[in-house]
Symmetry: C2
Subunit: 202 residues, 2 copies
């Protein structure tokens, strides 16, 4: 398969890339991100359209990109909520909406969400809102996509590899190896399911 991977440069993106390309039957992966591979900015629809125009047709689109601000709720500005919604939520919706004509029949979109949409932590209300929106978007989009196109989201808990930085914010949350989340992307891309939220590590 030929797969467009957006956010290829991050911890999760690198793990997804490694998992998809390993072995003799590995997939062809076109990498994109803000800073390496094909350039793309999820907050800029023209940038997404240009990406699809350059890349052409793929069998799957996988996204591991998306940023949300973290701060105590009484300190969060409306601009910070807006920023998270625009980047990780609307940005991934745009990746689907603008990619409809660039994915082969039966192909898939796999978006990244996260545990906070259903199991929140303090300072995480923007991420929670965004992730909850993503769970619902994939359920809704799945019943409307044309040509057998599929859509799922991978929702991991905090990664073992990021525990030193984020562990203090996740008291009592068992971390999960990032490779487990990468397998969620493989399940979505190579499987036949649609409209699913793949919980990873929780």
């Amino acid at each position: 398969m030929r797969i467009l991977l957006v956010g290829a440069n991050g911890l999760l993106g690198r793990a997804v890339h490694a998992t998809l390309t390993e072995g003799a039957g590995g997939d062809e992966v076109v990498t994109a991100s803000r800073s390496s591979g094909e350039p793309v900015d999820l907050t800029d629809a023209a940038s997404i359209a240009a990406l699809y125009s350059r890349v052409g047709t793929v069998d799957a689109v996988a996204c591991t990109a998306g940023v949300t601000p973290f701060a105590p709720l009484p300190e969060l500005s409306l601009g910070q909520y807006q920023a998270g919604l625009t980047d990780k939520l609307l940005g991934q919706i745009a990746l689907v909406r603008l990619g409809l004509d660039h994915v082969t029949d039966g192909g898939s979109f796999t978006l990244i969400s996260g545990i906070l949409g259903e199991d929140p932590i303090a300072t995480g209300s923007v991420a929670a809102t965004v992730n909850g929106g993503l769970y619902a978007f994939v359920r809704a989009a799945a019943i409307e996509l044309p040509r057998g196109l599929r859509i799922n989201t991978v929702s991991p808990t905090v990664f073992t590899e990021a525990w030193d930085d984020y562990g203090p914010y996740f008291p009592g949350y068992p971390p999960v190896p990032v490779a487990d989340a990468a397998r969620g992307f493989v399940k979505s891309i190579a499987g036949r399911q649609t409209g699913q939220v793949y919980r990873i590590g929780y």
Copy 2:
């Protein structure tokens, strides 16, 4: 109790108003909406701040307002997703964020979401995304609100009173009387729960 009701002019808003004010022990309800009572536009933060400034302190804020576009997913523009997120999702988040200092200790915010966030219909992907974001926002905000403030969302299915207009879009969904959804607001306002999604009629 003194309650600020935003969206008081709609089908649900009128039912919530009637339920809250009925009988001898009825509450004092300050009504607000785009078109009647105290004027407010949820997409304009300055308008929300001005509303709170005029209204002063209340024991509860209830919102029955919020608009989302409906169209088949392949026909929805990114601007329509943006419009729904800005109005019903970010608008209600703004009502909470800007209202933190205007609600008495232990008081409540009650937001309106809807069934489509977990049980989607065709043409409803914007509403689904918004409602899913709202479920997650109230769960996340509930663990961070100061002074014992509470927050819940009422998530109704389609209303019996609106069945002639919307029934064809909800095949096999049993409708629910709008008065049942109004009771969800009473449960949130007069009860002690927080972080809950009150499903009405499903």
